[in-house]
């Protein structure tokens, strides 16, 4: 399953770090961040609940970039 989320982040380097962090979260097959469009595209593993996964994604992204925001509610 693929979903696209709106994100908020200040710099391109930080966006790249978020992408790296999101890709390491369990349940995420692939994630890519488009800094210019401020969108994060996440492909989930089969049979997972996207909202639960996204909570972990946000938590891990905050570790690398404290200011970031992902809108998944």
């Amino acid at each position: 399953m693929k979903k696209t989320y709106k994100i908020e982040v200040d710099c391109a380097n930080c966006a790249a770090k978020m992408e790296e962090a999101a890709n390491k979260v369990e349940g995420v097959k692939a994630a890519s961040v488009n800094f210019m469009a401020l969108k994060m595209k996440v492909e989930f593993e089969d049979g997972v609940e996207p909202k639960e996964i996204m909570k972990n994604v946000l938590a891990d992204c905050r570790k690398v970039e404290p200011d970031c925001e992902i809108f998944f509610e």
Binding site: A12, N13, A16, N34, M36, A37, K41
Partner: protein, 634 residues
């Protein structure tokens, strides 16, 4: 301006005012320190907090930590040596100004590009039971519903006009500036602007499947396919920052120790200052931000010209194109027949066409349609009776009492009429009245109006070879190629032969750095589109297979767009390269100057912030790349 940008701007202004006022205050020792530490915290507190958080999250090598160490170091140096706190605060201040400008510029360009691509409205008008118009979420509109589009509004969903006449502006979709007239029965695509009249449209697709939504999705996805340049920059940034940090540590420690060993003055302070200068230059911001921004703006510019490039990587390949392979029918030629010559025996040209058009009145054959198109006022008061189609031959009818036969050479032979051959390439239609030969009309698939200009423009851009593939017979193919100025022709091809022809051309390329582009209309050539280095589908809005297989989609079927696409990609790539060389070059220069003690922190902060700002401004030029006009190609 966002809330955050406003706050930061206020902080920058307050700090600047304090710094100017502090110039007029005489103070010494701890009192001076206290005075200066206030503006430092106003302008730098968030950087310090982020630096601490970075260490706690084990992500130490970011620009916040570097800025924190550099400025705190400078303050420490000032405290023990010079008492010059201004430099540390100024560095932080300039860093913040730079960050603010970056965030503003990126936000602004993001908005500009988003406006450019704002082609899908977020509502649709529907009539409710009382006949009142109601705005609804376009996602909720089912296929087959009737929606209303008022003048000035964008069409939200693809559909067929059921009521109303109007003109549509499709510029945002196709780059075509000429408005298009529509009437009941016409198919219209979402994203076009209704200019003059109220239209009622029966939807044929869901909102998410409609053209405008598809295009938006394509553009948004484009950013996630990264080019080689972007990958290079990401890798570069990953190694560059740690190297500079370690170099800074080495610079602070090794020379003083060596000097001590050599029994001279170690100059700890001077070397520490040089090391701190190093740290300030170490952030790769200028590169990391300007390269994706250039591509994003370039993709935006292309889409404004009606060219969808599906990723930055394709933008890069497109710029390396040296060979362009065209499909003939539908790409370089119109794909429909039209009258190219009329050769009467005794009648005048118009009369011959007039009679032939009458005979073909009821036929739906492409040739009949071309004759009717050439003679639009066919419905006059002539009497047409006993129309009879003779399969594989032609049509016979009685017009005003005369028997008129219109057909091929075989029909003439069957009737025992002597026909004359023609020097034109194309399909020859003979006309006979009451058994007398009256002449012939030649119809052929004609080149599109901009085909010749497109080939010329491509040649002018340094495209080495143009190749045309076609299923047509050799003579016809060569006539067209000669007229357009195409270098190579491969004729008599079956659809499946096209893939192997392209493979041969790919194998014949002198180097991997050159790209081969294939241009097709998306009908039957999806395999070729995906086999070429870069597949360009034209006029493909509506053919999902072609959009899927192609890397570049031209939204209308003007071949000149191919030249425009390559031009945009070349300019965009040139700007990307300028930025890479400019940013790396300045940084390396300042790093060397810093290590030798020639560059102050002021120079360092320029190398970081100034370069980033200039690179962003340069990147924004990508958005305004203009297309050449076909008429001006000489």
């Amino acid at each position: 301006m966002t809330e955050k940008q406003k706050q930061n701007l206020i902080r920058i202004v307050i700090t600047s005012i304090i710094m100017i006022s502090l110039n007029f205050i005489e103070a010494d020792g701890m009192f001076r320190f206290t005075l200066y530490i206030i503006p430092y915290f106003i302008i730098g507190h968030d950087i310090l907090i982020k630096a601490v958080k970075g260490i706690r999250n084990r992500q130490p090598f970011d620009e916040n930590l570097l800025m924190a160490i550099a400025t705190l170091g400078a303050i420490a140096l000032a405290l023990y040596r010079s008492g010059d706190y201004v430099e540390a605060i100024a560095v932080m201040l300039f860093y913040q100004i730079g960050e603010w400008f970056q965030s503003y510029a990126v936000g602004k360009s993001r908005k500009d590009i988003a406006d450019l691509m704002d082609i899908a409205p977020d509502y649709a008008n529907m009539e409710n039971e009382e006949g009142q118009l109601e705005q609804v979420d376009p996602d909720d509109v089912e296929i087959g519903s009737v929606i209303v589009v008022k003048p000035g509004e964008r069409v939200p969903i693809d559909g067929t006009v059921v009521e109303g006449h109007s003109t549509l502006n499709t510029a945002a979709l196709t780059g075509e500036s000429l408005p298009r007239d529509v009437e009941p029965g016409n198919e219209i695509i979402s994203g076009s602007i209704n200019l003059t009249g109220l239209l009622k449209i029966r939807t044929t697709k869901e909102f998410g499947e409609s053209t405008a939504s598809k295009i938006l999705e394509l553009i948004e996805d484009a950013g996630s396919r990264k080019s080689k340049s972007e990958e290079f920059i990401t890798k570069f940034a990953r190694v560059y920052t740690p190297i500079v940090v370690w170099a800074a540590i080495a610079l602070a420690l090794i020379p003083p120790v060596v000097l001590t060993v050599m029994d001279s003055e170690p100059m700890w302070g001077a070397w520490l200052y040089r090391a701190l200068t190093f740290l300030i230059i170490s952030c790769p911001c200028a590169l990391v931000i300007s390269i994706p921004l250039s591509f994003f703006a370039g993709l935006g510019a292309a889409s404004r010209h009606g060219i969808l490039v599906k990723g930055s990587n394709y933008m890069e390949t497109l710029s390396e194109t040296k060979t362009v392979v065209f499909d003939k029918t539908g790409t370089l030629t119109k794909g429909t027949f039209s009258v190219v010559a009329i050769h009467p025996e005794k009648l005048d040209e118009n009369q011959l066409l007039h009679l032939a058009a009458h005979v073909e009145r009821y036929s739906s054959h492409p040739i009949a349609l071309s004759l009717l198109e050439a003679y639009p006022n066919e419905h006059d008061d002539c009497r047409i009776e006993n129309t009879e189609e003779i399969a594989g031959r032609g049509i016979k009818a009685i017009i005003n009492g005369d028997t008129v036969c219109v057909g091929n050479a075989r029909m003439m032979e069957d009737l025992g009429i002597n026909w004359k051959p023609c020097e034109h390439h194309g399909t020859i239609i003979h006309v006979a009245i009451n058994g007398e030969y009256e002449g012939h009309i030649v119809v052929a698939d004609t080149p599109k109006p901009h085909s010749k200009a497109a080939i010329k423009a491509l040649k002018a851009q340094g495209i080495r070879e143009t190749v045309m593939l076609t299923g047509d017979a050799r003579a016809v193919a060569e006539a067209v190629a000669g007229e357009l100025g195409i270098d190579q022709v491969r004729s008599d091809l079956l659809p499946q032969d096209k893939v192997s022809e392209v493979e041969q051309l790919l194998a014949a390329k002198p180097s991997d750095k050159e790209a081969l582009a294939f241009v097709g209309d998306g009908i039957n050539d999806a395999p070729v589109l995906s086999r070429a280095d870069i597949g360009i589908a034209m006029g493909a809005m509506g053919s999902d297979a072609a959009i899927e297989a192609a890397d570049v989609v031209l939204m209308d079927d003007d071949p000149f767009k191919i030249a425009t696409a390559i031009r945009v990609s070349r300019k965009c790539l040139r700007i990307v390269k300028e930025n890479i060389w400019f940013a790396i070059g300045i940084k390396v220069l300042v790093l060397i100057a810093g290590a030798l003690g020639f560059a102050s922190m002021w120079a360092a902060i320029f190398a970081d912030v100034g370069v980033a700002v200039l690179a962003i401004l340069n990147a924004m030029r990508c958005m305004y790349i203009k297309a050449q006009q076909p008429e001006t190609v000489s």
